[in-house]
Amino acid sequence: MTDAAAQAVRAAVEALSPTWITPPVLQPAGLYLELAGEDIRARAFMLAGDEDEALCLRPDMTAPALRQTLRSGDWSKAFSVAYDGLVFRRQSDGQKESEFRQVGAEVFAPRAEIAASEAGVINVTLAACRALNISPRVRLGDVAVFEALVEACVLPEPWPRRVKRAFARPGGLATVLREAAAPPAPEESAMAQALAALPEERAEAVVEELLADAGVAIVGARTLGEIAARLREKGRTLSAPRAEDAALQFIAETTAIEAAPDAAFAALRNAAENAAVKNAAPFLAAIARAEARWAATDKQALDATFSAGFGRGLAYYDGFVFELEAPQLGARASLGGGGRYDGLLHRIASSQGGALKAPEQWGAAGFALRPQRLAEAAR
C-alpha cells in the first residue's frame, strides 16, 4: 500500500521534470542544531562524535536535499530535484513511527520567476491525492502576508521585531500583548534613557567607563558597541510612544482569521481599511500575490482554508506554506506539506563555510508527502 502511494506521488512529481537525488542518510548534527535549535536533540537520532563532527540520522529531507543541490546543482537556469527516502524522528508517543518514508521535491529558480512555480508545487501534491482518491483538507498560509501586515501597522521599534518573532512561537502574540502592557524596570530605564540622549560614541565611552569602574570585563560574543546600542534603543523605546495596544490587538485578530481562501482574502482586504493600518499598499500587494497563487491552484472541489497566521512553528518557511491534512486519521493528522524557503537556502549555503554557494537572487520552494499516511487515508 505504501509503495503504491509512493508510486502515485512519484508519478505526480514528474510534472516538475525533476532530477531524482539520493542525499546521504547521515547528516551533520551541527547543521540541524543551527537550523532548528536545541529541540532537535530530542527529536533527531544523534550519533556520538565530537561536537563539530557529530552526525544524526536525517530528520527531514529538505536540508539534505538542499546541501546536495548546493554542491552539485546547475544554477544557470530554474530546475528542480526530487527524492524518495526514509527520515528518522524520535517519537515520544510510542504509537507513531520513528522511521518513515517521504517523497518530495524542491524547485529552485530566480526570485522573479519562482512565484509562478508556487501553485505548481501545491498542484503536484493535489494531483497525487487525486490519483489515490483522497480529498485532503488543505491549510494555506503565507508568512509574507503576515510580515506585510505587521509592517503595515508601522509600529515603533522594537515591536515589529517582537511581533514577528512571537509568530513562530507557541505562546504567540499573547506574550507580546502582555509585554506591551507591562511597565519597564525603573533602574535600568533611567540609565537607558540617559544613554539614549547622548551621541553614539559618547554613549559607548560612558558604558566602557561604567564597566571599567565596576571591574567588569566583557565576556561572551557581544561587543561594547552592541551593548551600548541596545541600551540606547531601550531608552529610546521608553521615551518614544509605546506600541498602541489597539494595533497589537488588531494584528492578533487579523492573524486569527481562518476561512475559505476567497473569504479570507476579502476579510484581509477589509482589514487593510482598519485605522491601525498606516501603510496599506505593501500589505495589499502581499494579499494579491496570495490570491494569484490561489487562482492558479488546481481546486476542483477543494476543501481549503487560508490564514495569515498559519505557519507557526514551521521555522523553515518564509513565504507561502501549506499543509494537507487527513481528518479521518485524527485531528491535525498531516499527509505532508511544504512552502517557500528562500532563507533556508541561503542559511544552509552560508553555514557550510562558503564552500556551497546559492546565487543571491534565487529562491526555493518545495514539499514532502508521507506515502504511509497517504495509504492509510486512501483506505
Binding site: 543551527e34 535549535g37 509585554e179 524596570a185 535600568e188 565576556v219 561572551g220 551593548i227 541596545r230
Partner: protein, 323 residues
C-alpha cells in the same frame, strides 16, 4: 545480606553534612576500610548497607534502582529528566543549598531578564547566523527552562566542569549553573538574570521506585525515617513538667491544647507534663504557673517518637500509590 542499600556522597562538604546529619539522628555511619573504603555501616543497623558514591552517581543509581535510598542534590535528581519519575523525594535536608540559574555576562547592561536574553539571542542569530551559546552540565533543565521562556535561538555547549569560566574562555556567551553566594559568578564577570532562577536546590533524602523493595527493606527504611523524625520532633518540642499544685487539670489540658502541645506520658494525678513547641514553652510554663501549678520546669528531649511517624507513612503511601 543487607536489606536496604543507602547511598551517601563520597566526598566534599556534602559528605560531611550528610554524615553529620545521620550522626545527629543517632544513625552514625562508619566507613569500613578506613577513609578510603566505599562501603560503610550504620551504627546499630546491620540490615543497612551504606555505599559512598559521587552525588551524580547517586542520582543515576536511584534512577536505575541500584540503591534503595540516597542523599544527593535535587538539581541532580531533576536532571534525570524522565528518570525523575522514578524518584521519591522523601525529605529535604536543609543543607547543600544552591540555586540553578541562568547567568549572563555582567557587562551586558542591557540584559536583565529572560525576555532580554531572548531578544539578544535573536539579534545575534539574525546578524551572524550563529546561535547564543549556553554552557551547562544541566542540559535537560536548561533546555526545558529556556524553551519555557520562549528563548529558542540558542545552542547548548555541554560543559563538564568549571562552567562559570566558559564565557571568559570564549566558548560560551551565557551559562546555566548552580550558585550559592554568587561570588564565583561575579569573579567570572557574570550576573544572574532577575527571572532566571530555575531551581532552588538542596540535598534530598530520596528513594528509588525502581529498586527492589523487599518488606525488610521497607521496614528498615521506615525505621530510619521514624528515627529521623523523632530527632526532629525532639528538637522542635520541649517537655514541660510541673507539680499540679492548685491548678485544675481541665484548665491545664485547655492550656496544652491552646499552646499546640501534646500530653506526655509522665502526666499523673499530681503531675502535669506535656510536649510543647519549643518557642512557646516559656509562655506555656508561665501560664501553667499562673493557673497554680508549680514548680514548672522546661526540659529538652533528644528524641520524641510517635507510633507511626508521618514521614514513614507518607513514604509508604507514595509507594502504595505507585504500585
Amino acid at each position: 545480606m543487607s536489606a536496604l542499600i543507602l547511598a551517601v556522597p563520597s566526598k566534599g562538604r556534602l559528605q560531611e553534612q550528610t554524615l553529620g546529619f545521620f550522626a545527629d539522628c543517632g544513625l552514625a555511619i562508619s566507613q569500613d576500610g578506613g577513609k578510603r573504603g566505599y562501603v560503610a555501616k550504620m551504627a546499630g543497623r546491620a540490615e543497612v548497607e551504606v555505599r559512598l558514591l559521587s552525588a551524580g552517581d547517586i542520582s543515576s543509581a536511584l534512577r536505575d534502582g541500584d540503591v534503595h535510598v540516597g542523599v544527593t542534590g535535587e538539581d541532580l535528581l531533576r536532571e534525570l529528566g524522565a528518570g525523575f519519575q522514578r524518584i521519591i523525594m522523601v525529605k529535604p535536608l536543609g543543607f547543600g543549598r544552591a540555586d540553578l540559574v541562568v547567568a549572563a555576562p555582567a557587562a551586558w547592561l542591557d540584559v536583565t531578564t529572560m525576555a532580554d536574553l531572548d531578544e539578544v539571542s535573536a539579534a545575534m542569530r539574525a546578524r551572524t547566523g550563529k546561535r547564543l551559546r549556553v554552557a551547562t552540565k544541566y542540559l535537560k533543565q536548561a533546555h526545558a527552562f529556556l524553551d519555557g521562556r520562549g528563548v529558542d535561538d540558542y545552542r547548548i555547549v555541554e560543559s563538564l566542569g568549571a562552567t562559570e569560566g566558559a564565557p571568559a574562555a570564549g566558548v560560551a556567551d551565557v551559562i546555566v549553573d548552580i550558585t550559592t553566594t554568587g561570588a564565583t559568578l561575579k569573579a567570572n564577570h557574570l550576573k544572574t538574570l532577575s527571572d532566571g532562577l530555575i531551581l532552588k536546590s538542596q540535598a534530598q533524602l530520596a528513594a528509588s521506585r525502581a529498586a527492589d523493595w523487599s518488606d525488610a527493606a521497607k521496614a528498615a527504611f521506615a525505621a530510619i525515617l521514624n528515627q529521623i523524625e523523632a530527632r526532629e520532633e525532639g528538637r522542635k518540642l520541649k517537655l514541660v513538667r510541673a507539680a499540679l499544685g492548685t491548678a485544675k487539670p481541665e484548665a491545664v489540658a485547655a492550656l496544652v491544647e491552646r499552646m499546640g502541645g501534646r500530653p506526655a506520658s509522665e502526666s499523673g494525678p499530681d503531675i502535669v507534663a506535656f510536649y510543647c513547641p519549643a518557642e512557646r514553652a516559656p509562655e506555656a510554663s508561665a501560664a501553667a504557673a499562673a493557673l497554680g501549678a508549680g514548680p514548672v520546669g522546661i526540659f529538652s528531649s533528644d528524641y520524641v517518637f510517635e507510633r507511626a511517624g508521618s514521614l514513614s507513612r507518607r513514604f509508604a503511601d507514595e509507594f502504595a500509590n505507585a504500585s
